[in-house]
Amino acid sequence: MKKLVACLLVLLMLTGMVTIAGAESAREGYVNTGKLQYDLNHEVNNGEDMTLEFWVQVELAETYQKWCDAYTALHPNIKFNITQGSNEDHFKKLGMALPAGSGPHLFHMHNSFIDQFMVNLKPYDPAVFPLDDLREDYIFVDESLYGGNMYYQGLAVMSCGVFYNKQMWADAGLTENDIPKTWDELAEVAQKLTQYDENGNITVAGFNYNEMSMEYLITALHYHLGVPMFGADGRTPVFNDGFKKCVEWLRDLYTEKKVGSVELPMSILSFSQGTSAMTYIGTWFGNWMKVNAPDIEYGFFILPSVDGNPAPAYDRSNIEVSPSINANVTDAEYAVINDFLCYLLSNDNFVLDFALKQYGTPTKKCLIDNPDVQADEVLGTTARYMDRLIYPGAYPDVYHSTIKKYFYDEVMLNGMDIQEAMDACKEEIMDAMETTEFVSEENKYPHADELVFE
């Protein structure tokens, strides 16, 4: 009998220890050094079971699964059902489901869809997310507000820059000191990196902006000249002589300086295949390379200014944001979702995870100086230039896709006159702008006085 009791006691203690250890490990991943508070020990939904539908893009599935599981470990009554969608069609599916009154409880959001989706969203609960606390913890708080409502919070700052192949860089006899300081130096470096075969055809391009880079390059160079994407009214796209100059400079890189060719594959593919030594693309590309071409060692620098003097702005920034909430959720669901989102936003480790996955600089202030971030060539560089990047707001995708259509396809491939392309492009973007209430936030840029608004 004693033995049995002893056994039971031991068993009880063991299970007790396991339970404690389980709860401990669930808390282990949680680190909060910010102002926004989250209580790990409270009960949610009165302990009743609830399953939340959560739609994410395929790339983020792993990251969100991990933190949903961690939340479930804290609150075993709350479960998540994560459904993945392909990149392109995730938002198409949401665009159908949300207005029809169905769809998930919460979903991965992109700020370029805010104008389209807003009527179908419920803002974060201001009682759970006091704005002052958020402002203390995060940058990009006010940029994420619409009519005072918070539909998401920016978690990672995305920008663009030049990626170069370190091996090729060294083979061309270049060193760290050769990182270009001016546009001309960039062209010179590109020339040194270009390789030709015996017929004079390019085998390795010094610089490649094919298909998905040129449109972003143009607007970045345009910033260097102090011209914003949108005019004084915040809605009319600017196509002026400066714009023309940027396009001409880029065209000359291919036609005069022969550092690249439109016959090469798309910029990012060519770079990952080792047929281009440099390309210009979003910071996300850093992570993409690690997955798709781990053998290529790359370096990164921000586009140099025109003449070596500080530019009014070096590039555009954008944010990757936290999940948004379906307007159709019940009050009980709304409470749990807010609790979950608070768990995420107050958790340094989640924000870091998310930012590293998207490959942008975390917006949580305590993380900007994080050694992992600073040591990373791409994220560290972006962080250093942060105050010289312009956030134009959640402008519609059609802006850059139309620029691509006219200035890469029509000008570069078909030889259309640049002025003609500018006129047609402007008309088409203006036509598309009718569908959105977007107003540019470029005038809120801290150094907006250095820009010229037309």
Partner: protein
């Protein structure tokens, strides 16, 4: 053209089971098509007179604005011209090549079914998969097609990245994929022509070419009409291969009508304008179909006269 109704004349009264069968058909088809076709199409038609942005829950009447806008844009003309060129070339290409291959295979003594199988395989594969494979083959710098052309001294081509070639490259892929369908039908048609006809022609001193022209072709008329008609309606709505291979580009060089309206709907969130494009296309298809029907019916009438 018209089948003689079996029951007419013999017993005007339908049997119990026939009535049940007709009843099921009428009710099922009307209900099904009303719900899943008439309602959505009617909705879209009404939507073509509205500023219709589903994700923003906007649905406000704007009269003929959508039609006025698209008719004022050069894209509509371009997309329509591309659609008609695509339809005409692929329909003709598939029909002529199908006939030619069928004639060649038909003349073989051995291996007929082997060749038939091979030429038909592309028909039964997914457009998505073959579009991806062809896109890679067309890649200018390291795709295989330029490499093989280079062996014959042909200079490097840009294919899908050249405005003058892009649409033709997609057409070539489509003809490649769909010729087998026409071929199989022509082969069957040829099998149905009695050999005695050719023997008689040979005795009359007819060359093979003449026999083909004056015996084979006329007897394959119904097959030809069927191929042309079915091709027309489906190629007018070409979308998948354009979307996957060129994305309508370069620029808008390979825009087709359905690609254009898809862009308006899902790219610009303007379902009203997309619907207007759809009904312009519908009108064109309808006009061509009625014309085709008139011509066929006219010939039938001539024959009976």
């Amino acid at each position: 053209m018209h089948q003689q109704p079996v029951v007419r004349g013999k017993s005007r009264r339908l049997s119990q089971s026939q009535r049940v069968m007709i009843g099921i058909t009428v009710v099922a088809l009307i209900v099904y098509y009303a719900v899943f076709f008439v309602f959505p199409i009617g909705y879209a038609f009404v939507g073509s007179f509205f500023n219709w942005m589903p994700t923003k829950r906007v649905f406000t009447p704007i009269g003929l604005e959508n039609y006025r806008k698209i008719l004022g844009q050069s894209t509509l003309g371009l997309a329509m011209r591309n659609t008609l060129v695509f339809t005409a070339v692929v329909t003709l290409g598939r029909t002529v090549l199908g006939l030619l291959i069928a004639a060649l295979i038909h003349g073989l003594n051995h291996g007929k079914s082997l060749f038939r199988t091979i030429y038909f395989i592309p028909v039964v594969t997914s457009t998505v998969a073959v579009s991806m494979v062809w896109k890679w083959m067309y890649e200018p710098s390291n795709g295989p097609l330029n490499y093989y052309l280079g062996l014959f001294g042909v200079p490097s081509q840009r294919f899908l990245k050249d405005s003058a070639q892009a649409l033709w490259c997609v057409m070539a892929m489509t003809v490649w994929k769909e010729t087998g369908y026409a071929m199989v039908m022509y082969m069957a048609g040829m099998t149905g022509i009695p050999g005695t006809l050719y023997e008689a022609a040979e005795i009359d001193g007819c060359t093979r070419l003449k026999a083909f022209r004056y015996i084979t072709l006329p007897l394959l008329k119904t097959t030809t009409e069927f191929v042309l008609l079915t091709s027309f309606v489906s190629y007018c709505q070409t979308f998948t291969q354009i979307d996957l291979m060129t994305g309508g580009g370069p620029g808008k060089a390979s825009y087709t009508m359905v690609y254009y309206l898809y862009q308006e709907a899902f790219g610009n969130n303007r379902f009203g304008r997309a619907s207007a494009i759809a009904f312009v296309l519908f009108a064109v298809i309808l006009v061509f179909s009625v014309l085709q029907l008139r011509i066929t019916r006219g010939k039938e009438a001539e024959k009976h006269a």
